[in-house]
Symmetry: C2
Subunit: 412 residues, 2 copies
């Protein structure tokens, strides 16, 4: 990889050659991929990008893959960035865009990391990729690997919802339901990965995965014609995504494609916000309970807190926590004003933005991009609980007229 | 509309000016939009298309909208066309592509029709669009209308699944749950549409909607660089989609963009195949029971049978019926070999193709495109029933080793 210098531990600074099988530093710290920006500057221009396919692989010079590594088969990335003028007006900001990353092949931003895992597994000559997860990481890995003809072993705790297991099975994953909690599930996956040498798809262990995730901000920048907004709002769970987002922005800044870095808005659930608590109290993070319905960000022990905290602090970011009710209100608001249906964790960034607008922290002079990280079809159960009841009527026009009148609905 | 000559009844031949509010012919027949192909030939080139946005609106010269009508806001269309080499080899065909139309904003091909409904409603000056449906038509209308700032009234039978109602409510639709069966639901919607003059989004009544649907075949042709396959396989319910697909192909043939028309493969469920029965027996269609789990094509009284039958016959098409088990096997096959998760009705075209391959009707000299019309996340319940059970194990590597051995799974 001519564009990559090395991998460097964010904790102790030790550097490693960027081989495909990298995991954590010997000190336990997470590695960060270091690029040769001079090389990239000489080889990538905005003009060159224009004619490339609309997938995350259009940004090859900024990605840690060999030139000979093929694009992965599913169409990952280049999700739509919608101008959300009606919602922006409601919130009282100058300009708002919604990046709907639920429009990825397996319906979440995680496809970006899983596609990267598939590419790196192929470089490593691996035929099997493994992870432990019940959520979007698992389904995106299963789907992207299946499309590439790679096999997967996916470890889920026994409490994993049947629907999610069904999706994994449909993609042909070997699914191991571990009798025990998530910690035990993770342990068994680790032992198995060590024994068989499977490729490890774990965003906080494999340093390449957040490089896949960063493509979401590369796209936002390009879709905005490289004119960056004041803020970028996103939900935060184990920290890999917001760290990836920030990495992408810094890359673009380093090669001179953008001349401004947006401030990050880190949105977490009131019931589980260890990263935001560390920001608010300016202390190291500590574990928290996981009391939120936004399952994809219910992470009490964030595995990538270090990178996330650095990203939020470097960007002079804002941490905001929202209740489950505020999350579900944001889901409905995105649906009614933008036609975007996000899963609870997916809309938490927008919920956080709304709260900051209500508090007067963000307002009429500000431009914002809010990323929706997953599709609402992933979790219909919560939408059912919060969406309200339809009108229930007999086949009788008079009854309909009366009901519409009672509710004060406009009929024209 | 300089590109449109008129609308013409497929039954009696009567013509109408192509006003935005068109419904059926006075004789009850369905109208078809007639284009001025000479005008289109002079105004559209393959070269021109290359620089256009990747949505269905790139084909404006072939669509029945005014030049001044804006593109609708959600990113509808330009779904991925995957080269499915592994699946093609398994089925024994020369070349197979999968068009994954579940990758649309509300996760089905119906977004193409609903985006058209929004565009035409805006031309008609309407602020409200109505339909009766419990399925993909309803959710796509609710989402596309919300994004455009239009309101919707959507009538569903009381048996409509809560998850689908939740999706409609999240998009802000006014949902009326009618105490009665689908027929009564439809009746009340008709009375309400007549009373308030709402714009009518019903694919078998509004002739513009299948013009939206046809964009799926326009895209397939362009994505294949205008080299058409021998066959195009698609599932068939009320007939609007296959009719639209055929219309798109004929349009391209008429303007000289393609020089070959693929034969259509009309796939229906064994438990509900009124259109395919009419083809097989070469008779007019008659109603059938609706005994299939593929809910989106469980249509015993197809409302667009005339256009569908004409399309299948004109193309020298093949009708094939598949059991629910064959449908669910196709779902798994698409998942494991392509990383594509389709809903049961969405994968019925592929199930039909598989059957024709097994029967030796389609084989090693044939090239095929199979369209997946909706996303599997729309109906996880059936996937759960058919996907099999994961391995259930304690956190014990020896137990895992034993289980993997017992199942004969490859670990490298």
């Amino acid at each position: 990889m001519k564009n990559v210098l090395c991998a460097k531990c964010v904790k102790c600074g030790k550097t490693y050659a960027a081989t495909p099988n990298l995991t954590n530093c010997a000190c336990g710290g997470i590695l960060d991929i270091v690029y040769d920006y001079e090389y990239i500057k000489q080889n990538l221009t905005k003009e060159k990008l224009k004619s490339r396919p609309h997938t995350m692989w259009r940004y090859r010079e900024l990605l840690p893959v060999e030139e000979s590594t093929p694009d992965t088969p599913l169409r990952v990335g280049w999700s739509p960035l919608y101008e959300a003028d009606r919602l922006g007006e409601l919130l009282g900001v100058k300009k708002l865009w919604i990046k709907d990353d639920g429009q990825n092949p397996t319906a979440s931003l995680k496809d970006r990391a899983s596609a990267m895992a598939v590419a790196k597994a192929q470089e490593a000559g691996a035929k099997i990729i493994a992870c432990s997860s019940t959520g979007n990481a698992a389904s995106s890995l299963a789907g992207n690997a299946a499309a590439a003809g790679l096999r997967t072993f996916i470890f889920v705790p026994e409490r994993a919802p049947k629907g999610k297991v069904a999706q994994l099975m449909t993609f042909g994953a070997n699914v191991i339901s571990v009798q025990g909690n998530y910690e035990e599930t993770f342990e068994l996956s680790k032992k198995a990965i060590d024994k068989w040498g499977w490729y490890n798809r774990n965003a906080a262990i494999n340093p390449y995965l957040s490089e896949g995730k960063k493509t979401v901000s590369l796209e936002i920048a390009e879709q905005l014609d490289w004119k960056m907004p004041d803020y970028l709002a996103i939900s935060v769970g184990d920290g890999c995504t917001i760290a990836g987002v920030w990495k992408g922005l810094k890359d673009l800044y380093a090669i001179g494609f953008i001349d401004k870095l947006p401030r990050l808005i880190s949105a977490q659930a009131e019931g589980c916000h260890p990263i935001n608590r560390a920001i608010a109290e300016n202390k190291p993070w500590a574990p928290m309970e996981e009391n939120t319905l936004a399952d994809s960000i219910a992470v009490g022990v964030p595995r990538n807190a270090d990178k996330a905290l650095m990203a939020i602090r470097e960007s002079n970011g804002i941490a905001v926590n929202v209740t489950d009710e505020e999350i579900m209100a944001a889901q409905k608001l995105l649906g009614t004003t933008c036609g975007v249906f996000g899963e609870p964790a997916g809309v938490t960034g927008t919920a956080g933005l709304k709260k900051l607008c209500e508090q007067g922290i963000i307002g009429k002079d500000d431009t914002v991009v809010s990323v929706v990280t997953g599709n609402g079809l992933k979790d219909v159960a919560n939408a059912i609980k919060f969406c309200g009841e339809p009108m229930k009527l007999p086949n009788d026009l008079d009854a309909l007229v009366a009901e519409i009148g009672k509710r004060g609905l406009k009929t024209e």
